[in-house]
Amino acid sequence: MSAYAGTGRLIRLALRRDRVQIAVWIVASVALLAAGAAAVADEFPDEAERVTALKGAGTSPAVLLMRGAPVGTDLGALVNFRNYAFMLVLAALMSTFAIVRHTRQNEENGRAELLGAGRLGRRAGLTSALVVVAGADLLLGAALTGTLLGAGLPADGALAFGAATAATGLAFAGLAAVAAQLFQSARAANAFAATAVGVAFLVRGIGDALGERAADGIQVTGAWPSWLSPIGWGMRVRPFGEEAWWVLALPFALVAACVAVAFALAGRRDFGAGLIPDRPGPKAASRSLLSPLGLAWRLNRGTTLGWVIGGALLGLGIGTLGRTVNEAMSGNTGATELLDQIAGAGAAPLVDTFYAAMMNVFGVLAAGYVVQALLRLRTEEAGGPAEAVLATAVGRVRWVAAHLACAVIGATALLVLAGAGMGVADAAVGGVTGVDPLVGAGLAQLPAALTLAGFVVLVFGLLPRLTIPLAWAGLVASIVCGLLGEVFALPEAVRDLSPFSHVPPIPAAEAAAGPLVALAVTAAALAAAGLALFRRRNLAL
């Protein structure tokens, strides 16, 4: 029997499982890009306007960090500047999650074992996952190219945009394939791969922020750090600028190397095992584990510490940029306008507007953490130990409340430490913003993040079997409507649906209690409704 026997069968199975998920991902990407391209054509029809906007942006490291390096002044170049990095991140996330879903997750819940018994080669699982994801990336790239051509943009740039997006997706598929071999749980593999996407985005951002400006005062070439990141490679293809096609060789080389490593690892380990062997643990439980809260904390501990430490480090990093931002941007109205677009602050000190915009990102991170932590409710219920736990003297409300408490504490710690990190680093490089206002700014994001927690509890109570996709969709929608609403030119009413649209841009603006209290009340109401529904429904085991 060949090592690849049964690959075709697995591919068909994976396609059947994924048909909705991948289609939604691709359609959403296309819709966002179409909206983004239309918004650019609408807002900046004249070259002169584009030049003003881009000139400002080129001098602001913060904008370069979030958006990327401008590659020119025509329409396509501005579409690249505003939407490209985000598209690369979407492709990377789609690919990592799909690879883990079809490899480690299959193994973890025994599906692969069942299939493995029926004439499957050793390499069939990983091969089929890679084929399916490569197909999805190709489809995504082609769809994006088609979208840009449809918007009347030049063919070269459209092709480079699509090809580089697909190649970036593939590169992360390779990284995820390795992660899926190294980690024993799909959760850990997903967390690692998603963190890799985040780090790659930031490393690329630092490269672009430190980049060199060309003589025209507009084009920026990223500094060396962006060569370290697969997302940086995607940026360096420079669609709609002077396309550097050869850079596409890098992601392909990476994916080839990763696939070789993943197969070597797969051949070396036992089925279901990771490479890091298990050591014996305690024979009896410590007192701290013996309650619903103790259990919830134990289950969330690793994830929470990861997010909190990551948030604090990121806060420190951003704090060190504060002064540079202030110096670079004073007297530059274009940059201020762009920052205002993200943070929504009026005439405030530039550095504070910068911090407010960054705090919005932490709000999103906290929301992402909260969603991930609360989705454990569903994974515990669906074929997990919740059946046995809820057959003990633990009531349903108490069980959910324990997980909710962990999520609230984790999100609070994440935001406080991010703000403190920013404040401390800002003071260390001679800034004057101070720790307290930045911790306050962090806490101001908490009600918005908790609104998503309430949303997750609500869908968990209402539609248990759809909890996981709906929760992530809610997060993505609130990011798109809230933080990127302007970029995609969404109507005001749609933007207002996102909790992030209602957070005052502290420290650039005064803290306003009204919207924060309203968000907190909304969060509590959503959670209470979800709990009431959960108490009344059948367990969906």
């Binding site: 024993q184 749980s185 298990d278 014996p280 643990g281 305690p282 024979k283 009896a284 439980a285 584990l289 013996l290 309650s291 619903p292 259990l295 134990r298 289950l299 074929g383 997990g384 130990p385 059946e387 046995a388 736990v389 809820l390 057959a391 003990t392 003297a393 633990v394 009531g395 009344r536 429904r537 059948n538 367990l539 085991l541």
Partner: protein
């Protein structure tokens, strides 16, 4: 004293399919009650309703004198449950999981726990993700039996255990039964049910088709008889209650309705019987009769 479990007319649907269709189940306090039925008959669904995990659509359900949906938490302190498919937390050790379940139920007996860990030959320091199916089941069994509760609800608790562990399981059930606890045991293993249970309920397609003590059920059904005489045996086919007769001159093999057995014996007395064996129907035969009827009825439809 009230019954530990009293279910009547229980109906439960999932969407358009009816899993339970007027099911009755009565388990007396102190009884070890076997709960039998082919795959998909509704055993697990019934148990989940009894635990308040699913909500009954119609019918009466009483558990330890309370309503399992409304009084779930209060009732759960008095019972222990072993699910059919034991799922544990991959990162916790078996020992931690045992303590956790025990404590969430209201505490467990430490010496009993140690004794059971020994008896079931479980290594409690291993991470749950590394346990086999049988070992996961042992974790759930130790956690349940180390609790001092009145009622044990066990859903196919031994489907992954080896014969040695099966014996350990039977010993443990006898011990809790001896101290007065009630046990509801869903199982596909007839020898286990025959060895442990004083009463059984057999369900099919969500309805109870047979229920009572094993002795009574046996009486209601047929006994298999093999007889050998010095002269040819005649006239058996004319007797009421005789079925599946295979007569071969001086030898005969047949089944007889247990109630008709005395008449048949009187008839045989006239033939100078040399050897006679009879055995009551095994549980498997009881079960197969219902199951077989279902299969024939299904085929006839």
């Amino acid at each position: 004293m009230t019954d530990a479990i009293a279910v009547s007319g229980l109906v439960k649907s999932f969407g358009t399919s009816r899993a339970l269709n007027g099911l009755n189940l009565t388990v007396g306090t102190g009884e070890v009650h076997g709960f039998l039925g082919p795959n998909g008959a509704g055993k697990t669904t019934t148990i989940r309703v009894l635990l308040g995990l699913l909500r009954a659509d119609a019918g009466q359900v009483r558990l330890l004198g309370g309503d399992p949906w409304r009084d779930a938490v209060r009732l759960h302190k008095r019972l222990a449950y072993v699910p059919g498919d034991v799922s544990l937390w991959p990162n916790l050790t078996g020992g931690e999981a045992i303590d956790l379940f025990g404590d969430l139920r209201g505490g467990l007996d430490r010496t009993r726990r140690a004794e059971l860990v020994e008896r079931f030959q479980l290594d409690p320091s291993k991470r749950c993700r590394t346990y086999s199916k049988g070992n996961r089941q042992k974790v759930a069994l130790v956690a349940a039996f180390a609790s001092d509760v009145e009622l044990f609800i066990l859903d196919e608790p031994t489907s992954g255990l080896d014969p040695l562990m099966e014996a350990a399981f039977q010993q443990t059930v006898r011990e809790v039964s001896a101290r007065g606890a009630t046990v509801l045991l869903s199982s596909h293993i007839f020898s286990e049910v025959e060895a442990l249970c004083s009463a059984v309920s057999i369900i099919r397609d969500g309805v109870t088709v047979e229920s009572g003590t094993l002795a009574r059920l046996r009486h209601l059904t047929r006994t298999s008889v093999t007889v050998e005489a010095a002269e040819p045996i005649t006239g058996l086919d004319a007797l009421p209650g005789v079925h599946d007769l295979v007569a071969d001159g001086t030898r005969a093999r047949f089944d007889v309705d247990s109630a008709r057995l005395p008449g048949v014996l009187r008839h045989l007395a006239g033939f100078e019987v040399q050897a006679l064996t009879s055995h009551p129907p095994t549980l498997e035969e009881l079960f197969m009769r219902h199951y077989g009827e279902a299969a024939t009825a299904g085929a006839g439809r």
